[in-house]
């Protein structure tokens, strides 16, 4: 019995880990490879142990059970397979980090995009009701960060009614509702009202999951056209 334990322990000790390689590439510790997608070459990584990163270690995320990971990976992969390798290269997205209870400065968040490190951290335990939409929402932030000059927030803000003003930042407001409005009035969700970039991300994510794309709201129509035209500037073959 002891011999079996010893063999198992030595296997554990000597199994080579990719964590150091991953840390050297994207500066996030405690990750291992979950899967490398053959279609668009996205690298899915998972938190083997909780990790802390960011300024003053303000970003935290925790490891998940394998069952949850397997289940959520299918959903994430299905959605991210809609982006081909060429497009992902243009927007600078290569690594998807899967973990749970993701927070930034103690505020829970669905995802943290980082186009410089080509990484998107996703909270796989985020509310299932919005989960698929949120994936595209976060991808849009990567797109936006990589093409800031195309997605001009001034131009975008002018689509709204005259007296409307966005908040200073997405966390400086209580407008965090993610339910899609029945009566849109220029915004898909309450969260859309927080900042211009969150509004763009909400429009994009709604388009990606095909909800309300035939909206007759004149403001939303302009916003949708803006998003579609700009995506075609990045990749003329991009299909919404």
């Amino acid at each position: 019995m002891n011999l079996i334990r010893l063999i198992l322990l030595s296997l554990f000790i000597f199994t080579q880990s990719q964590a150091d390689t991953i840390y050297n590439l994207i500066k996030i510790p405690n990750l291992e490879i979950y899967k490398i997608n053959k279609f668009n070459k996205l690298r899915y990584l998972y938190a083997k142990q909780p990790f802390t990163i960011g300024v003053d270690n303000n970003i935290n995320c925790f490891s998940s059970e394998k069952k949850v990971l397997d289940e959520k990976y299918k959903i994430i992969q299905k959605n991210l397979d809609r982006y081909d390798q060429k497009f992902l290269k243009k927007i600078n997205l290569k690594y998807i980090v899967l973990c749970e209870d993701l927070s930034i400065s103690n505020i829970n968040t669905a995802g943290i995009p980082d186009n410089v490190m080509k990484t998107l951290i996703l909270d796989i335990k985020f509310d299932e009701k919005y989960f698929e939409r949120v994936i595209h929402h976060e991808v849009f932030h990567i797109i936006n960060d990589s093409f800031k000059e195309i997605f001009d927030e001034k131009v975008w803000s002018e689509f709204n009614v005259k007296n409307f003003k966005y908040a200073e930042c997405s966390t400086c407001t209580d407008k965090i509702g993610l339910d899609t409005y029945k009566k849109t009035e220029g915004f898909f969700t309450e969260y859309s009202r927080s900042t211009a970039s969150e509004d763009m991300a909400e429009v994009f994510s709604h388009l990606m999951i095909g909800s309300n794309s035939n909206n007759s709201d004149p403001i939303l129509k302009k916003k949708i056209k803006f998003i579609k035209n700009n995506l075609l500037k990045i990749d003329k073959n991009f299909i919404l």
């Binding site: 080579q16 390689t21 991953i22 490398i36």
Partner: protein
């Protein structure tokens, strides 16, 4: 009168065992000191290659490492490497970054030369030839023995530094410019000096030489 005591059979066995153990330990002490003891040194002139013009021989403390270059995958990267090999620029350059069983990195021509090594700056030196663009679009399987050009955190900053992976590193595909693969002598690279607590090696091993098989 002292009574003579005869050793029992089991005592004799234990005594013999201790003697053998002592001899083995003593022998091992000298044998283990030679880190290259079980490393085969390949003679490139006794091996037949499909593309001899793409073969380079890297000579390290434990013998020859034979690398096949892939100009069809990374033409600019391979061209830069060959330029530096032909000018003998890599001779006496340190393996300054070594991670046990993971990778060995060398090629800092500015701060990594034997006799002129600068531990404060090693890894940041230049060749004087300028940087070249990354070539990461062609599919490449970064398996054990793959040779690639190193770069900074940014793409298109490749210069003279290169690394060789000692285990499969699938995540390196599309990250680093591959220039070739070790086809013989990987074991000699595993004997390159490393430190347990740091990737950067104090008093490192050096490249003896790198030569094209056919000039």
């Amino acid at each position: 009168m002292i009574k003579k005591i005869k050793a029992s059979k089991s005592e004799k066995i234990i005594f013999t065992f201790i003697i053998v153990l002592a001899l083995f330990s003593f022998g091992s002490f000298f044998l283990i000191k030679d880190k290259c003891l079980f490393v085969k040194d390949y003679d490139p002139y006794k091996i037949k290659f499909d593309k001899p013009r793409n073969i380079v021989v890297l000579n390290v403390p434990c013998g020859n490492v034979i690398i096949e270059l892939y100009p069809e995958i990374s033409p600019k990267g391979v061209k830069r490497f060959i330029t530096l090999v032909k000018s003998k620029a890599y001779d006496d350059v340190a393996f300054h970054r070594v991670i046990k069983d993971t990778l060995v990195q060398a090629g800092d021509l500015e701060f990594g030369k034997k006799g002129n090594i600068d531990y404060g700056k090693i890894g940041t030196g230049k060749s004087g030839l300028g940087t070249i663009n990354s070539e990461v679009d062609n599919p490449f399987n970064f398996e054990k023995g793959s040779v690639a050009l190193a770069r900074t955190q940014k793409y298109n900053t490749e210069d003279s530094q290169f690394f060789i992976v000692l285990r499969d590193e699938p995540l390196y595909e599309t990250e680093y410019t591959p220039i070739g693969k070790v086809i013989y002598g990987l074991k000699a690279l595993k004997k390159i000096k490393y430190l347990d607590k740091s990737q950067y090696v104090l008093r490192p091993d050096y490249i003896n030489s790198i030569r094209m098989l056919i000039n």
